[in-house]
Subunit: 337 residues, 2 copies
Amino acid sequence: MKKIVALAFMAASLMANSLIDDAKNAGLKAIPESPSELLKLIDNPKNPITKAKVKLGKKLYFDPRLSKSGLISCNTCHNLSKGGDDGMQAAIGHKWTANPHHLSSPTVYNAVFNDKQFWDGRSPDLEDQAQGPIQATPEMAATPEHVVKTVTSMPAYVKEFKEAYGYDVKITFKKIADTIGTFERTLVTPAPFDAFMNGHEDAMTKEQKEGLKTFIQVGCASCHNGIGVGGSMGAMNVTAKYKYMNVGDFKGDKNGMVKVPTLRNVTETAPYFHNGMVLTLQDAIKEMGRIQLGTKITDKQAKSIETFLGALEGKKPYIKLPMLPATNDNTPKPVVK
Amino acid sequence: MKKIVALAFMAASLMANSLIDDAKNAGLKAIPESPSELLKLIDNPKNPITKAKVKLGKKLYFDPRLSKSGLISCNTCHNLSKGGDDGMQAAIGHKWTANPHHLSSPTVYNAVFNDKQFWDGRSPDLEDQAQGPIQATPEMAATPEHVVKTVTSMPAYVKEFKEAYGYDVKITFKKIADTIGTFERTLVTPAPFDAFMNGHEDAMTKEQKEGLKTFIQVGCASCHNGIGVGGSMGAMNVTAKYKYMNVGDFKGDKNGMVKVPTLRNVTETAPYFHNGMVLTLQDAIKEMGRIQLGTKITDKQAKSIETFLGALEGKKPYIKLPMLPATNDNTPKPVVK
């Protein structure tokens, strides 16, 4: 009896190992368990992560006064309480303007693992990306001058900048965006998938493992791979065959490529695709099979893949709501028009 | 020498005591240090505070899906990171609509100490108040049905409701608002003023104590009194003589009365007055002297009072950013139009 149990255990173990191997061979990678290994992956040598920067960057991320209106913060569209995005089809910004290209806000969680940022990959990293929405007229609509003046007006911010960058620091728009980017680098959410890939076989359910198999067999991992389970610039021109390609005028990068979004926390970030036109995950899975893999994904397969995607729902970092320094007479006034 | 020190100490102590007595005689009260005493003050016998309700109420407070657009939460206008309000002159809501009466969002911190809620005092308590902005067209613009359907669509919310109210609970709009109100009751911010009034003489600086004296002597405490240092329905018709009374059509309650706002955290909640037309605290202090007390408050007095108001800047409760349950196919979709 003991022998049979032991054999069954070995067989199960081998099966699990072979699934881990299959996943690795398909290009999937886990978030490492070792903090130092993880730090190496998320750090930016040109703007190293420090506690002081993260602390300040978190405040700036939540501060709506960086926007022209004083109403919109990074967290408005990349809501850390809501899977890191806003749940909208097209993002809504300054003066209630919908994104002119009908683009949906991607999640900020695990965005550090993206090869490039923005749907067309025009930005190399989070520090650079953070400069975009702050200035975009239909988003936060601020000028760099407004942002610098706002931050510099508050002694508590100036003090934190000095603590983060040194006492002779000049507060620039770039440095403000850098600091926000640093905070965003820490927004990593390890999931049952990672525990499984790191050798904890029980971290995923039997059904999730079946889903992972289907995910690999169908070919999803040919684009959704790496630590981000996505995040590269795509292997095909998605707009060519995408059912809703005419919603919005977004045409991808210069090669017509659209960034492959991370599938981490995808169960929390409906609606789907760059223009948010697909409302459910199963529809998104099937549409991807049709246009990217040239295959008809069955209901059963879609459901199985969806079950696996649940194993990518990660543990969110513990975030204490920051208390922001008070506005004073030198702080630029909100302009809502 | 020892004798002199002892005498000086006694004299200082007597002076401090006499200032505390003066403040008490002027109707000012401290937030009690004893948690059980405080709980008695903030509790609602008809909707008792429980851990489960506070936990759920906090999530609902931060959930923008309670609004029609899916973009506006209670925290949008009553931002807990920013002194509990939005820093706007007139609140901005659904479709970027400014408050039609040009009313400014009051702080939610310590709002539990208000005798009544809203600028015209039309609501008796926070539970009742919470129903208002959710439904108001220029604010969250939701119907009670939308709110109930949204909350009920998410199993994690249903579970928390059962944990909070019992397993046969029916999720109603009233109960949702009640739960938000319960969370808001906990948003109390003890300040140096309270420590001083509770006998810790060194909790306020010499200048703040001087400011408190001026505050009492000038007559500010005739309206700004009680634990809220404000919060009652006013002793005068403020709109009659207020410099900016013509900005917006707000005329107060049926007697023309405007609620006296709390002065707790007032250093963090510019701009001032019901229509947000006074930008600085010193101007607000002088305008109040002119229209409410019929006295010219000097620059020196205004500055001294402002210094005292700094002692009302309280310690904010530790708030862990809540993680909200994921939207699913049954959750009403955002409507931004």
